[in-house]
């Protein structure tokens, strides 16, 4: 047939031409596999029995010989380290952080971008400048502040330190700048006040950037380790991330148990990333573009 021959030739030609590309793809694939391998090893280990873990140096089997869910059973039903309450605490803390951050950051971004008042620019840059002070300075006093008002060991002290984030305002303000002012004006003509304009016009237009702020404050809060570890001491108020640090100590040589807890703990952020990958990438690009 006339058609087969040239196409076959062109395939070979293309292969010969693009073997470099294929090789590159192969290298990338292998490297990606190595890069993610700790997660795969951990995943498989979480389904192994303790005996199998101990014998790994002899058998060298990465994949469990006998799959078992006993580690997951142990983690979920261990009364001394209540996994369920850690999950609940994490969701409460991260959820509250996201909701309050969205309200606080968007209202003040609206004020800085759309309203006119004296000392607006001065106030904004003062706040921005203050936020540049390395936060390590406030670490210790923060603890004593919450201690004084009786908030240590309360979930709220894991929320409030992040509500003052100025970068979110900066991001939202920049985005709001791109929304045409004519929209506000015409609404004002129709008798809308500032609250109407903010809630009915600006917010709906800003959903993408609000998503970015929400995602980053959620993962930031969910993954925060140092502050919850230092500020919270009672085990029923621990978040998952800080809880795993303690599980790691208390489970001693039983890596497979802690790893089972880890596998469960990474589900929420992973799921968020899978569903909202676009916004994650957008957010990172936005932050570099704004700050750079």
């Amino acid at each position: 047939m006339r058609f087969v021959k040239p196409s076959r030739a062109s395939l070979m030609q293309r292969l010969r031409k693009e073997w470099k590309l294929l090789l590159l793809a192969l290298i990338l694939f292998v490297f990606a596999a190595i890069w993610l391998s700790p997660l795969f090893f951990s995943f498989f280990a979480s389904f192994k029995s303790n005996v199998e873990m101990k014998r790994f140096s002899k058998t060298l089997n990465v994949i469990p010989i006998k799959w078992t869910t006993q580690n997951y059973d142990f983690v979920l039903n261990n009364a001394t380290a209540p996994f369920g309450s850690m999950v609940l605490n994490s969701f409460l803390v991260s959820g509250a952080t996201v909701l309050l951050t969205l309200v606080i950051a968007s209202t003040s971004a609206y004020a800085y971008e759309r309203l006119t008042f004296r000392f607006k620019e001065k106030l904004f840059w003062t706040v921005f400048g203050l936020s540049m002070i390395p936060s390590v300075i406030s670490l210790v006093p923060q603890y004593y502040l919450y201690d004084a008002i009786g908030w240590t060991n309360e979930l709220i002290c894991l929320v409030t330190p992040y509500l003052g984030n100025v970068f979110n305002i900066f991001l939202l303000r920049n985005f709001m700048h791109g929304i045409p002012k004519e929209l506000d004006e015409s609404a004002r003509m129709d008798g809308a006040n500032d609250l109407d304009i903010y809630a009915r016009i600006i917010l709906p237009c800003m959903v993408p950037s609000l998503m970015v702020v929400a995602l980053f404050s959620f993962t930031g809060s969910w993954n925060d380790l140092m502050w919850p570890s230092l500020a919270v001491t009672s085990s029923d108020k621990l978040t998952l991330t800080a809880g795993i640090r303690l599980l790691n100590d208390s489970y001693g040589g039983y890596y497979e148990r802690t790893l089972a807890a880890c596998m469960l703990a990474m589900i929420p952020t992973m799921a968020l990333y899978l569903f909202a990958r676009k916004y994650f990438l957008q957010g990172l690009q936005m932050s570099a573009a704004v700050k750079g």
């Binding site: 890069w35 280990a45 936020s131 004593y144 140092m226 790691n248 802690t258 990958r277 990438l281």
Partner: protein, 303 residues
Amino acid sequence: MDVKRTARRKMRRGAWIPLAFLLPHLLVFCCFNVFPILTGIFASFTKWTLGKAPIWVGLENYVTLLTDSQSMYYWQLRWGLQNTIQFVILCVPFRIVVPLSLALLLQTCYYLPSLLSLSVVMVSWLYMFDARSGIVNNLLGLGKVLWINTEPYNWIALILITVWWGSGSNLIIYQSALAGVSMELQEAARVDGANAFQRLIHVTLPSIRFPLQYTIITSVIAEFGIWGQPDMFNGGGPTLEVVNGINRQSNKMIMQYIAESGFGSSGVNAGIASSMALILGLIVFCVSLVQFKVMRRGENEEG
């Protein structure tokens, strides 16, 4: 004129509206961000133990920290900073170079580790590096390398883990920046006979210098605050030497010392912890300022 006046009157009458919109943020920002900073600065000039009122001691904390070799805190500041700076110097180049080379090769799945919480990352890697039943020693046939408590393996492991965990966001930033590098410029350089390496140095890197500058500054700031990795990996590592009865640990960072004396159950000393934090804060601030200045100058020279 008339329009202006009514506008001004309107503004004065509606002054509470901007305030209402700003108040939530200003309130939390002042209470939970600015106030602790001011307290921290004040506390660093006091002797302050939990449960007692702080006592003003002037510069005593700083004198102790900087000159009194009999004091535990003097050595903590010294060794903690020394280890932290060593960590930053060893770690940051990799946090730039590794994601940059990955981004040049383009792959989003490398971002995945950055989504994990540090405690998950640390457990996973503790398992990898476990001397007896860990993956690294057994699969690579290294025998019984004690990654957790021998130098330099503990440093290698800590830096590897940090780069693995922290590269994701830098990678995405480089990726989008590289997408914006002009192909014509690359092509022109190729026509002029520049090889791949020369094109990288003279075309690609200069065109992404803003994202590069941003990532270098943010990475340095982030790594100066390192706490969770050494805390969960080995708590500070093996003791190297004993000076005046105070143990010097191989990879104990300044944040660990600050957390210990500011929060720890024994020997709480919030005043001196605040002084240490202020010294660290000043160092971080100065380093980022210098970086910023150096890079701005480079930019001006280029045009």
